[in-house]
Amino acid sequence: MRSWFVNPWGRPRWLLLVTVLYILWSIVPVAIAIMFAFNNGRSRTTWQGFSTRWFTGATGSVLHDPALQGALKHTLFLAVICVAIATPLGVALALGLQRWRGPGAGTVNTVMLLPLVTPEIVMGVALLLLFLKVFPGIGVGTPAQAIGQVTFTVSYVVVIVRGRLVSVGREYEEAAADLGAPPHDQLVRVLLPLLAPAIIAAAAVVFALSIDDFVVTQYLSGDASTVTVPMLLYSTARAAPTPALNAIATVALGITLLTLAFAYLVYRRFAGGREAAVAAALEV
């Protein structure tokens, strides 16, 4: 009788079936793509035995092909730069917005959220025209790519850090103030340590978003030295590629997932399980 109440559609077996099929559909194609990264042959459709030649082989592998290696290095370089700029920028903005009352706060809040919902092609076109027409001195290329990525990742930092700010509350700062700590000490010695798990989680999310970004990075790319892994996937997926393409995608995926797993563990260790679940939801 209980299940009758819980489930208004009769037996949920078909729901279970749909869910299992959906999860298989969403994961298995990618798993097959990863499997073919280890194919011992040039085909991406016929299995020819296991090999790591497309990762470390002497020719055409991720490790030794100049184009693949260059794309991987540039992707990671951009991600490091993006984290280094977007994290402090976003943390400061989150702190400022949290306590900023009065005129302007609402507008800034809205503008801060806009990059999260603006379709990437609109941001890509806007930034491209900005760098061609307003900052021709910067132009397109690596600096423009980094600036573009910071512009859409900084909002994620604000949202994640602000979530933690809300849950920490104001008691600790007020206690520090009552005990005579000057504002600077309240910030550096009380608030920032409390925010540390959120800041690390935000940095990891920015790192992963930067590695995965395609549209903005492509619009702001210059010469061949500014090609990233997603751009390489786009330009060669239909042009007779070898399994090395699957291999480089697999490497990028591995880096992304390890970064996020690290961030999740740090957050859970220092901020408690319930908040980690909130953070995981926010990372979406």
């Binding site: 869910t19 969403s26 991406r44 920028l89 400022g96 379709p119 076109v125 995965d212 992304t256 995981a280």
Partner: protein, 305 residues
């Protein structure tokens, strides 16, 4: 702590960054759209609204009104997005419902598996399907063996055997569903998970059948999640150009994103591209404002609770 100016000073770098690289950048689109072209057909933006030249905007609007190429592309985009959104909802609702209500102790694992596709590069997910749907790919062979290929050909959704990747609108729509359905499932899951179980039990106590209980209690209560999810999949779909490029690579399946991409990034008609970007933004602004208001309302409710 400190004066209010401390907080404003902290916010200042971020505010300036977003003002320059988001607001000014977007104004650059407007200035170019209402600007001119030089003799090398490079855009010349007109920054002062008093100088604006409406020539290119009128040219594009005429093209649309007269039913020429841009109208075709806009209508095709709306059709693709509408069908893909309906399919995403048909797949996503049962999955989100199961995860929120019936997953039991497997809930966290199911949620993790539902979130996982977010962190797999979109282009890698498309690459996976390009391999599978190539003429000798595993999916092509499987679909041939089980007769789905014949069914698609019979329905007119596929033109030749094994031709999944040669410009088929059906493949583009299915790829869009595959790409974006996770964006719909997560807000739906959140909405369904929040519903108080006792409300459904109350409906049952008052004599509602399971189906009418669902129709009259669960479904209305999950409407905000449905709407938020639909907006979250519609926005990136409207701006997508890489999915049609990768799984079709044919002008017959061009969406508005392809048109903008060809005019701005690849081509030299950046002014017309800017006009189309502006029109697309105006359409999507309605969706974005709705979404931001809905999330802010939800945030306010959560803060009260």
């Amino acid at each position: 702590m400190g004066s209010r100016w401390t907080w404003r000073a902290l916010a200042a770098p971020g505010v300036i960054w977003l003002a320059v690289f988001f607001l000014v950048a977007f104004y650059a689109v407007i200035a170019v759209a209402f600007g001119n072209e030089d003799s090398l057909s490079q855009p010349v933006p007109f920054w002062n609204p008093l100088d604006w030249n409406v020539g290119y905007v009128i040219q594009v609007l005429k093209n649309i009104v007269h039913g020429e190429q841009f109208l075709t592309v806009f209508l095709r985009t709306f059709a693709f997005v509408a069908i893909a959104m309906a399919l995403s909802l048909a797949i996503g609702y049962p999955v989100a419902y199961f995860a929120a209500r019936h997953a039991g102790r497997w809930k966290m694992l199911v949620l993790l598996l539902l979130i996982l596709p977010f962190w797999i590069n979109y282009l890698m997910r498309m690459l996976a399907w390009i391999n599978l749907l190539s003429p000798d790919g595993w999916a092509t062979r499987f679909l041939h063996t089980v007769g789905i290929e014949q069914l698609f050909i019979w329905l007119g959704l596929l033109s030749t055997e094994g031709g999944w990747l040669d410009g088929q609108p059906s493949t583009v729509i299915l790829a869009l569903v595959y790409g974006y359905v996770p964006f719909l499932i997560i807000p739906l899951f959140a909405a369904l998970d929040r519903i108080d179980q006792r409300q459904i039990e109350a409906a049952r106590d008052l004599g509602a059948s399971p189906f009418s209980g669902f129709l009259r209690v669960t479904l209305p209560l999950s409407t905000p999640g449905i709407l938020a999810g639909c907006v979250l999949v519609a926005l990136p779909m409207f701006g997508d150009y890489y999915t049609p490029d990768l799984v079709s690579a044919s002008a017959k399946t061009n969406m508005i994103g392809n048109q903008i991409d060809q005019l701005t990034r690849q081509g030299s008609e950046k002014v017309v591209g800017a006009v189309l970007t502006l029109i697309l933004s105006a359409v999507l602004l309605v969706l974005m404002v709705y979404y931001l208001r809905a999330t802010r309302r939800a945030g306010a409710e959560a803060a009260e609770a």
